[in-house]
Symmetry: C2
Subunit: 179 residues, 2 copies
């Protein structure tokens, strides 16, 4: 049961955005810009980073929601990447650039201070520019917030995979505003 | 040196908000609502939670900026609270309610899943309501993001205490928008 009173029919972060709309409005607008706005990473790549960070933070709601969103956004022949990276910890299916970015995201998940020059050098050698590195760090940092918000208040977490398929479809098609 | 190109004369998160204004605009609006908007916690109490979480995350820039902001916002006879709580780890100077809220914030700093029913019960027994618990969790979660953003990109961190006095004065007087 959630630690505070929340609408019973709405799961995860949406219950918080609904019950606390003053902060919720800004969080949705921020997430939409970060995950769908202009970036050198496409939305599927950004959702993959979000899902991976959420998995390491053991946030079930966010892990499954953003895995499903990434699956919707990757083209058919790349959809298997999500399962491999998020749940089987097999980054070999990724480009060198995305492997290096996932390493940066995982360092940020531990602490901002865990990001070393070697992480950045490896990403640059694989073709990452400033914007890419910036967006990777901010996505990881943001999901360290969203994961804690969702689980710190013990929001309702669906068990059924179909629930996350719906959430993923909606986030893939409509993004983070008015969801 | 920062991991990406940032304006050299601007320290900490402000360099990121300036260089990446699309996300920056939303982050500033969110922070202003969370730290200065309507809440059952006053701005000094919110800044104290932010400073404490930042100290545990070892984010020097945020720890000193928000400690100084809290010092500006607490009345004279309570200013010593900041030094005791943030730097001497002495929570006995706080009310029972604020002690319980700091414990919730420190649990969230570890993980959303580290918040236990006992943390919530203790806060409620000391007078915390839903809004107070919500705001405490979200402030801690948000600074887990801001701290990682600031340090994950190795932004410039001033050494001189006077720099943080100025930042604290400005945040106390004007908040998080147009800083």
């Amino acid at each position: 049961m959630p630690h505070i009173s929340l609408p019973v029919s709405i799961p995860g972060i949406r219950s918080l955005l609904t019950a606390y709309p003053e902060t919720g409005r800004h969080l949705s607008a921020f997430a939409h810009q970060l995950m769908r706005g202009e970036s050198s990473l496409n939305p599927a790549e950004r959702e993959l980073i979000a899902a991976k960070v959420s998995q390491v933070n053991q946030c079930k709601y966010c892990t499954h929601s953003h895995s499903q969103t990434a699956r919707h956004l990757f083209p058919d022949e790349e959809k298997k990447i999500v399962e491999e990276v998020v749940f089987k910890h097999n980054n070999q299916v990724l480009s060198e650039k995305m492997q290096a970015l996932i390493q940066i995201a995982l360092a940020v998940q531990q602490s901002g201070l865990a990001v070393e020059q070697a992480h950045i050098d490896k990403a640059r050698e694989a073709g990452a520019d400033d914007q890419t590195i910036h967006d990777t760090v901010l996505i990881s940092a943001a999901f360290c917030m969203f994961n804690r918000y969702v689980d710190g208040l013990a929001t309702m977490t669906p068990d059924k995979p179909e629930a996350y398929e719906l959430i993923g479809k909606r986030l893939a098609e409509s993004g983070y505003i008015n969801r």
